[in-house]
Symmetry: C2
Subunit: 281 residues, 2 copies
């Protein structure tokens, strides 16, 4: 267990928001994250809900803008928001690109030279992060859920679909659900995984759902005026795949909403309720 | 009426968050502000609730961090958050001080050379800003309320106490309620108003409450672990003055809470309810 440094701490909603830093073994760099401890954590272990952010984000965007802590406090869920990629001078970046390199880890384990050394966000999110939290904060074993936005929605779906039985629930805001078929995903997977498109499929929710080992219901909110809807997100493709395979998935098209955290803040209450219903069952 | 430029616009909570810029006549510079239009504004005029931020802030801090829009949408209130001072190359600043100059307008009309040209935030907030909003957005005439944080709590109390009958309600988070008696206020008033302490009293809630032309109830939330509580805020002095004069004031000491926006976000729902009750009566 690596040592955890507390960078800041503030009382909030009867609980506490903390920003932490630790030396991560999976990404071989210092990683920062935010944690919200609900008031119920003072009385014993509570379920763990992990948020994965989108391109360019750190732990900060969701933590400051989504307004999730209010509802995590109501339901008694411990919220964790990690960074979106490894960081630091030793970590490879892609110059001039905000959709590749730092801030754009895509929640995969990279295999390409230059990236495989640090870009192991899948291992970080699925193994190291929950282990870190379990070892230091009062969370209930076996009560874990995951959700995210855009690239982080992709990450949440992939984590859930690759690990049947592991998560009590999953949801996403405007996820990149068919990454092997869209420019963001093609660029990221070429960079992190190389040219062999067959290997990409293990990181694509739209491919993974065919082999899903359980029928974990998926909740997706998607802004109908999202500027990335057509070229990058394509929720109708993922919904059609789920429908064809009989995988429970509800994509809610939200008229007028865009890709911003205002969209997330508007519907975050529903997602916390979705996860609480599964985690507190 | 000056021209209003829309810098950004996002759907949120069934309404819309806009960031605006206009050339202000009172402060003689471009001013930015945020506005939240609740869903009810689509059907006709709604009440106006003005937020005044604290030292170092712009419109952005409250807009992104307080989570107020959710409740403004529920109650049907139009929220406006202006900047805390004039800005721009022509505007005097105080080098090396974050509690004076830009970001620290203290909601007064400055009288000192170098500052009186632009530092007229009181006129801006009391006259120009509501006029701008009334001229461009659907607000109900005579239905206006005001609240704020720290320096902005001071501003809200001063605006309300100096203008009996004008505001339907007033509230504050951790306000500087005795500015003539604390270091922040003494530095600001010396800078903006000069050495004559008698003139300061017209900008001090603790002085103004004695001559208040109405008994408008005041709601104050104060974090008991606020790092500025003793030296700068002194809510017990203001509460004692109100009690002595029979002015209705409720100061709620909130155990454990600090001076941050986490404190504000935790109790913002109560303040929106306080204002809605008065504005929708």
């Amino acid at each position: 267990m690596s040592e955890i440094e507390t960078l800041s701490s503030h009382p909030a909603f009867g609980g506490e928001v903390r920003v932490l830093r630790h030396a991560a073994r999976s990404t071989r760099c210092d990683m920062e994250l935010s944690v919200f401890l609900p008031p119920q954590a003072a009385d014993g272990p509570v379920p763990l809900l992990i948020w994965l952010s989108g391109l360019t984000c750190t732990w900060e965007n969701f933590t400051l803008k989504a307004g999730a802590q209010r509802f995590a406090a109501q339901h008694g869920l411990l919220l964790v928001a990690p960074d979106t990629s490894p960081r630091g001078d030793a970590v490879a970046d892609v110059e001039g690109r905000w959709d590749l390199g730092t801030g754009a880890g895509f929640y995969v384990n990279a295999t390409t030279p230059g990236f495989r050394e640090h870009y192991r966000m899948y291992d970080y999110v699925v193994e190291e992060l929950p282990e870190l939290i379990r070892g230091s904060l009062p969370v209930r074993r076996g009560k874990e859920a995951i959700f995210g936005h855009s690239m982080g929605g992709h990450g949440a779906l992939v984590c859930a679909l690759r690990n049947p039985g592991r998560y009590a629930s999953v949801s996403a805001f405007a996820p990149i659900s068919t990454p092997t078929q869209v420019p963001w995903g093609e660029a990221a997977f070429t960079t992190y995984l190389g040219e062999d498109r067959d290997t990409w499929k293990r990181w694509d929710a739209n491919e993974l759902v065919a082999d899903a080992g359980e029928r974990l219901p998926i909740l997706i909110d998607q802004g109908a005026a999202d500027e990335f809807l057509g070229p990058q997100l394509r929720p109708e493709v993922f919904q059609a795949t789920c429908d064809r395979l009989g995988h429970p998935c509800e994509t809610r098209m939200q008229p007028g909403y865009d890709h911003s955290y205002w969209f997330i803040a508007t519907f975050i209450e529903d997602h916390l309720r979705h996860h609480a219903a599964a985690l507190l069952r």
